[in-house]
C-alpha cells in the first residue's frame, strides 16, 4: 500500500465518523420518516386547541334557537359567524358569554350597499336608512323577516 493511502484512509475514517456522530445529534427525531421533514410536526400541528367550537357544539344546548333560525332567511349561518368563537363559552357556560354584536357596522359588513356584493343578499344604504337607530332595534337577527316593531 502506498504511504499516502496509509495516512489518508484513517484520516477519512475519522472524518466520516465525526460527520455521522454530528449528524445523529443534529437531525431531529422522526425527520425523514415520510419525507424531507420532521414527521412529528404533523402531530404537533394537530394538538392545537380549537377556538371556534362549530355549530354542532352550539346545537347541544341551543337547538331550539338553531331550529328557529332554519325557518327564516338566515338559515344555515353558523352561530359563531356573528357571536364569535364559542369554545371558551362551552368550557365555562356561566362566566363567559359569547359576544352579541349590536352596532350598525356589524350588520353592514354583509348588508351595506355595495355593487360588488351578490344581489342575493338584501342591501341597505346605511347612510340613509334610519341613521340614528341600531339594526337590531327593529330587526330580529335570528328571524330577519320578522320585525320587532
Amino acid at each position: 500500500m502506498p504511504p499516502q493511502l496509509k495516512r489518508l484512509i484513517p484520516l477519512f475514517a475519522i472524518f466520516i465518523f465525526l460527520f455521522l456522530a454530528a449528524r445523529s445529534f443534529l437531525v431531529p427525531k422522526s425527520f425523514g420518516e415520510q419525507g424531507h421533514y420532521r414527521f412529528n410536526s404533523i402531530a404537533e400541528n394537530k394538538e392545537k386547541a380549537m377556538i371556534y367550537a362549530g355549530k354542532e357544539a352550539c346545537d347541544d344546548c341551543h337547538s331550539d334557537r338553531i331550529q328557529e333560525m332554519e325557518t327564516d332567511l338566515h338559515k344555515g349561518i353558523s352561530c359563531e359567524t356573528c357571536h364569535g368563537p364559542g369554545s371558551a363559552h362551552i368550557a365555562n357556560p356561566d362566566s363567559i358569554k359569547p359576544m352579541i354584536p349590536k352596532g350598525r357596522d356589524f350588520c353592514g359588513m354583509c348588508h351595506s350597499l355595495n355593487p360588488s356584493r351578490s344581489k342575493l343578499v338584501h342591501q341597505v344604504d346605511l347612510k340613509e336608512h334610519n341613521v340614528t337607530e341600531n339594526c337590531i332595534e327593529c330587526h330580529n337577527p335570528h328571524l330577519p323577516c320578522q320585525m320587532k316593531k
Binding site: 420532521r38 355593487p115 360588488s116
Partner: protein, 256 residues
C-alpha cells in the same frame, strides 16, 4: 501509429462510448428526471383523504368574517398585513382598468370607492393558501421546515424553521408571511387541528353564504367534488404548474 492501430483504438472508443451511453439511457428509464423533488402524490387508495378547497366567487359577499375567524382561531397578530386568508375586492371599470382593494384583509368590511356608473363588474375574491401538491414554497425551503402532509396539506414546522423567508418569496400567491412574534414562516394550515378531528376549518365554519367549501378530493361524495362537478372551476395561475388544490368558481381572468 499505423492506420490499422488507429482503426483499432477508434473501434475501442466507439464501443466504450456506446456502452456508457446505453447504460445512461437505461438507468434514466428507472428513475426519470423530475424537477419537482418534494411533491406528495395523491393517494391512490380512495379511502385516504386528499384535502382540497373550493371558493364560489358568486356567493362571496365580502363580509370578511373568514379573515377575522382565521386570525382568532390561529392566534395571528391583529395588526394589518398578516393574513392566512383574506378577501380582495376586484372592481373592473368601464374603461377596462382593474382596481383591487383589500383594506385590513376585509376584516372591517368593504366600501366601494368607485362610483357605480363607472363599474363594469365588481366582485370579491377570497384568498388563502392553495395547498399545492407541487408547492414552490416546499421546494424552496432549505431545511425541510415546510412540507406536504400525506393528505395534501402544506404546513410549516415552526420549531424547525430558520426564518430565512425563501418560501415567502417562492409562493406565487402571496400566502406566506413571517410571524412577527415567533419570527418563523407562517401560513394557512387548513386548520389542521380542526379537520383532523372531523371539524371544518374556521373560515368555512363562519362563512354565512357557504362560499367556501372544504372537502376530500378522493371522496366522490364530498361537498367539494359535488361543487366542482356542478361549476366550471379554475385554479389561480395554472401556467405555473403548482398543482393548486384551491378551486374557484366564476374566476375572472383579471384575478391575479
Amino acid at each position: 501509429m499505423s492506420n490499422e492501430e488507429i482503426g483499432k483504438s477508434r473501434r475501442k472508443f466507439i464501443k466504450k462510448a456506446a456502452t456508457v451511453g446505453s447504460l445512461l439511457v437505461t438507468t434514466s428509464l428507472f428513475t426519470p428526471f423530475n424537477a419537482v423533488v418534494y411533491a406528495v402524490e395523491r393517494p391512490k387508495d380512495p379511502s385516504k383523504t386528499w384535502w382540497g378547497y373550493g371558493i364560489d366567487i358568486e356567493k362571496c359577499i365580502g363580509c370578511g368574517r373568514c379573515a377575522n375567524a382565521c386570525k382568532t382561531e390561529n392566534n395571528i397578530p391583529k395588526q394589518p398585513f398578516y393574513f392566512r386568508t383574506w378577501v380582495e375586492q376586484y372592481t373592473i371599470k368601464n374603461d377596462g382598468t382593474v382596481k383591487v382593494e383589500s383594506p385590513n384583509g376585509g376584516i372591517d368590511g368593504f366600501v366601494q370607492s368607485v362610483p357605480p356608473e363607472d363599474i363594469f363588474k365588481a366582485f370579491f375574491v377570497p384568498k388563502l393558501c392553495n395547498h399545492c401538491y407541487k408547492s414552490p414554497c416546499v421546494q424552496a425551503c432549505p431545511v425541510g421546515a415546510t412540507y406536504e402532509t400525506p393528505d395534501g396539506v402544506v404546513m410549516v414546522d415552526e420549531t424547525y424553521c430558520i426564518g430565512c423567508r425563501y418560501c415567502v418569496q417562492a409562493c406565487p400567491y402571496g400566502c406566506r408571511y413571517i410571524n412577527p412574534a415567533k419570527n418563523v414562516a407562517d401560513k394557512c394550515t387548513l386548520c389542521y387541528h380542526r379537520i383532523s378531528k372531523g371539524k371544518t376549518t374556521a373560515c368555512v365554519e363562519v362563512c354565512p353564504t357557504h362560499a367556501r367549501i372544504l372537502g376530500n378530493l378522493n371522496d366522490p361524495k364530498s361537498p367539494l367534488v359535488k361543487f366542482m362537478k356542478e361549476h366550471t372551476c379554475l385554479v389561480l395561475k395554472p401556467h405555473l404548474n403548482t398543482g393548486s388544490k384551491c378551486f374557484y368558481n366564476a374566476l375572472s381572468g383579471e384575478v391575479r
